[in-house]
Structure formats: C-alpha cells, structure tokens
C-alpha cells in the first residue's frame, strides 16, 4: 500500500509541531510501520535534534531536490527503530530553495516503499508552509490551549480547507488539567467549539517532554509518560484504530487505567 503523507502544522511557532512529528513518527515505527519524517523547516531545522540524529547528517532535503545526492543517501536511519527514517532540512539555505512541486515529487518517490511520510511544517503561512502542505493527504494541526495559538490554528484550518486538503485534524498539546479545572485555561470544549474540527489527540503538559527532546529520545518510546501515551494513541488513531481519549485528570487516572484494561491496548 502506498504511503500516506501526513503534514504536521500549526501556524504559530513553539506549540510543539516538531515534538509531535518526532513522537508520532517514533510511535508508528515502534508499531512496525515504515516511516519517513521530513523536516520542511529549511534554515531552522530542529527535527534532527529532537530525534537525536543531528550528528549523522551528511545530505539534506535541498541536496536531494537539487540533485546533489540520491534520495536514499539523505535518509538517516534512526538508532533504535530500524523502520524510522529522517530527511533533514538544510540549515544554510532558506525556504525558497524548495518548491511545492519539489515536495510532491519527493513524496511520490517515497510513497511506494513506506507506510507513512510525516512532514514537519515550519511556523507561518508562507512558502515553507505551502511546501509542507502541497503533498499532504492528511493535515494535523497542533495547537495549545491559548487564545493566540487557537487563533492561528483557525487561520491554518481555513487555509487547509481552501487548498482542498481538509478537513484538518486537531491535536491539543500542553494541556494543564489542574489549570483547566480552576477555569484558568481554555478547556478542550472551548477550543473545539471555536475550531469545529475532528479531535485527533489530547496531550498533557509534561516536564519529561523537555528532558526527552533535549536528549533526542522521543517520549513516545517511554512507557510510563502520559504525554508519550498520548502520542502513541495519536499514532494509532492515524492508523485508523479507534482509541478512547485518556483522562488527563490526575484524580481520574485510576479510572482511566481501569478503562485502559478493558479497551484494547489503550489508556
């Protein structure tokens, strides 16, 4: 089956696109899928760092597009997961080095031999975003429960619709259940009411995520972390499985765990 191209985007910067891409990719590969992650953030590459593959870069996306190397040469295999590959972005060039049609061609070359192609989009709505969106079959919009991030997500969802790549699916990242409970943070319902799109995942705020990205070890491979579990669930939902949303409330974790025992593999 030819691969599905999943573009991870957000509009606003710093909401967790790269972390989400790395973790969803790692979770998919851990489930036995063949995955390629492409960093489309040319000039500000990060995905290689989060995956811990920075020191292995020889060729990058721009080298492939400009014909300086073969596609295989730019694909870096992950150190733990043999089915996870990364095509890093160039750091010394900018977004204009690649065109949307280059991205479509590149993904078409990758489709035959893989199950999923994940594209980490840069922030913004300009050329880099257009590059990342052009080959997409599925668009995942990441946002935080903050008004500014939700505004930008709304804009992005509109742009995705107008490019006929919709409907986008939403991941709400960095939820602080205690703050939501006190009414100090937008709740999932508040966000969904405004954006009116399908919810793909809820990821709680977790300090361990910072540690794991610094170390280059995706948290999705950490069995204990709730955020890791959330990313594993997102990967399974993207694979077409029905996975119940886990309870983010600390008090509800016992119930959540009980529910996890009965729903297949979920938590």
């Amino acid at each position: 089956m030819p691969a599905k191209v999943i573009t991870v985007t957000s509009g606003k910067g710093g909401v967790g696109k790269t972390t989400a891409t790395a973790n969803i990719g790692a979770a998919m590969a851990a489930n036995g899928h063949k995955v390629v992650c492409i960093d489309a953030d040319i000039g500000l590459r990060n995905l290689d760092v989060v995956l811990g593959l920075e020191n292995r870069i020889v060729y990058d996306l721009v080298d492939v597009v400009e014909g300086r190397c073969r596609l295989r040469q730019a694909m870096i295999r992950d150190k733990r997961l043999p089915e996870l590959y990364l095509i890093p972005a160039a750091q010394t060039r900018d977004k204009s080095a690649v065109s949307p049609s280059d991205m479509v061609r590149l993904c078409n070359d990758l489709r035959e031999e893989h199950d999923y192609i994940l594209i980490d989009s840069p922030a913004g709505i300009e050329r880099g975003f257009r590059n990342a969106l052009a080959p997409a079959d599925i668009v995942v919009v990441i946002t935080n429960p903050e008004i500014s991030a939700v505004r930008d997500a709304d804009r992005i969802i509109g742009l995705v619709e107008s490019e006929e790549k919709g409907p986008a699916r939403l991941v709400l990242n960095r939820i602080k259940p205690a703050m939501v409970k006190r009414g100090e943070m937008l709740s999932t319902e508040d966000v969904l009411e405004l954006l009116a799109v399908e919810l793909l995942g809820l990821v709680p705020d977790d300090e361990v995520v910072v540690v794991s990205t610094n170390r280059g070890l995706p948290i999705a491979l950490d069995g204990k972390s709730k955020a890791g579990q959330a990313f594993r669930n997102i990967a399974r939902r993207l694979n077409g499985e029905q996975v119940a949303f886990m309870s983010l409330d600390d008090n509800g974790s016992f119930l959540g765990r009980l529910k996890g025992l009965f729903s297949p593999g979920g938590n």
Binding site: R151, D152, D154, R155, A196
Partner: protein, 227 residues
C-alpha cells in the same frame, strides 16, 4: 447633397451621429436638427459621433458653444480620427462612452436597502484571515471566527456566532444593522461608528445592533417588535 444627422437616446443621454461631407455643412445641418427638436432635447447631454471628420479645436469649440446656446451640453466626441480625439481631449471632452457612469456610493447603499436586492448568502464558517466584502447585504449561515471580517454596505445577519469584526453600512448608511445568534464581535462598526463588545455574562441570546443617536447599541431580539 444632404448631410445625414441621426439622433438617438442612449443610457448616457443622446448620441448624435453625423455622416460624411463638408464640415461647415454638417455643422449647419446639425444645428437645424437641434432647432427642430429643441423642445424635446432641452437640457440634454449630447455625445457626438463624427466618424472620419478630422476636427480642429476652433471647429469643435464653435460647435460646442452653438450646442450650449440651444441649452444642451456636449460632453463626448467619438471619432475614428486621432486628430479629433486629441482636439476633444484638449477641450476637456470625453472620447469614450462605453463605461457606465460611476454612481454615488451613498445613494447606492440606500437603493440597496430599499429594494432589498443584492444580498449574498454565505453558507460556511468564516475562519481567521478571511475578509468578506460585499456591496449589499450579507447573510452568513455559520460562524464568523475571531480574525475574520465581514464588510457590507447593507446589513449583516449571522445565523451563528459572530466573533470576528463586522462592519455594516460601510459606505455610510447609518440605518444598517448587524444581528447574530451570538453577537460577540471583537469589534462592531456601523457606518462611521465603532464599538467594542463588553464581556458577556450568561447565556448568549440573539441580538441586533444598530445606531441610536450616534451610539452603537445592541438589544435582544424581540419577536413581538415588528421591523
């Protein structure tokens, strides 16, 4: 030899077409024609199609003053001759009549309001970054999200949540209204007046905003009140 002069009504006034021949003769024939129909043509705006005649400023200027003595106005001269076109432009006359005359925007909005014509129905949610501009009324069947804007010369009706910016009566119509099932725009403008929505308390209700002595006021929609 008689010179042909034809007069017919067009949207921009009257179009006078003259045939070939000695210009002096054409000039006289035209004046005779205008004389004969003077009563009907009184105060008319004339556009003159001179065909292939190449006219100098003196000739065209004399014709214009003769026409104005008949209490008519010459405003355009059409010609195949570039010399005539240039002469006409020097005298400040138009050389094209194809374009419709610009209408006055304020008057236009009023007409729209009264006839109830020219409204558009937008059957989708307007997300951030979308700007909807329309000379007329706008009906949105969906939400208007923050960061989106609707600008209409007439009224704006939102069958949904209005949270973006809405500007009704954008061409100066102070009778324009904005209504929505949940009227919580980031900013509301009617004609030249701007208002911000106060923080809402309680459940949203259908509301209608309009101008009341220079202030934008919103009130709950009352089915008993007839409009």
């Amino acid at each position: 030899m008689t010179v042909k002069v034809q007069i017919k009504g067009i949207r921009e006034g009257l179009l006078v077409t003259v045939g070939d021949g000695e210009w002096e003769q054409v000039h006289q024939t035209l004046l005779v024609q205008l004389d004969e129909q003077g009563v009907f043509l009184h105060g008319a705006r004339l556009a003159l199609d001179v065909g292939n005649h190449a006219l100098k400023a003196a000739e065209l200027g004399k014709l214009r003053s003769d026409i104005s003595q008949h209490e008519m106005t010459l405003w355009a001269v059409l010609s195949n001759s570039p010399i005539t076109e240039q002469t006409a432009q020097t005298l400040g006359l138009a050389t094209r009549i194809g374009k419709p005359q610009p209408e006055y925007p304020a008057a236009r909005a009023e007409t729209l309001l009264h006839t109830g014509e020219d409204a558009i129905l937008v059957q989708r949610t307007l997300r951030s970054g979308i700007s909807l501009n329309h000379a007329g009324h706008v009906v949105v069947l969906g939400d208007v999200n923050p960061g989106a804007e609707v600008i209409a010369s007439g009224n704006i009706l939102v069958w949904g949540r209005l949270r973006g910016m809405a500007h009704a009566g954008a061409e100066g119509n102070e009778l324009a209204i904005v209504c929505a099932l949940d009227l919580s725009p980031t900013q509301l403008r009617i004609a030249g007046h701007i208002a911000m929505t106060p923080q809402r308390r309680g459940k949203p209700q259908p509301e209608m905003a309009r101008l009341d002595s220079g202030q934008v006021v919103a009130e709950n929609w009352d089915p008993k009140k007839s409009r």
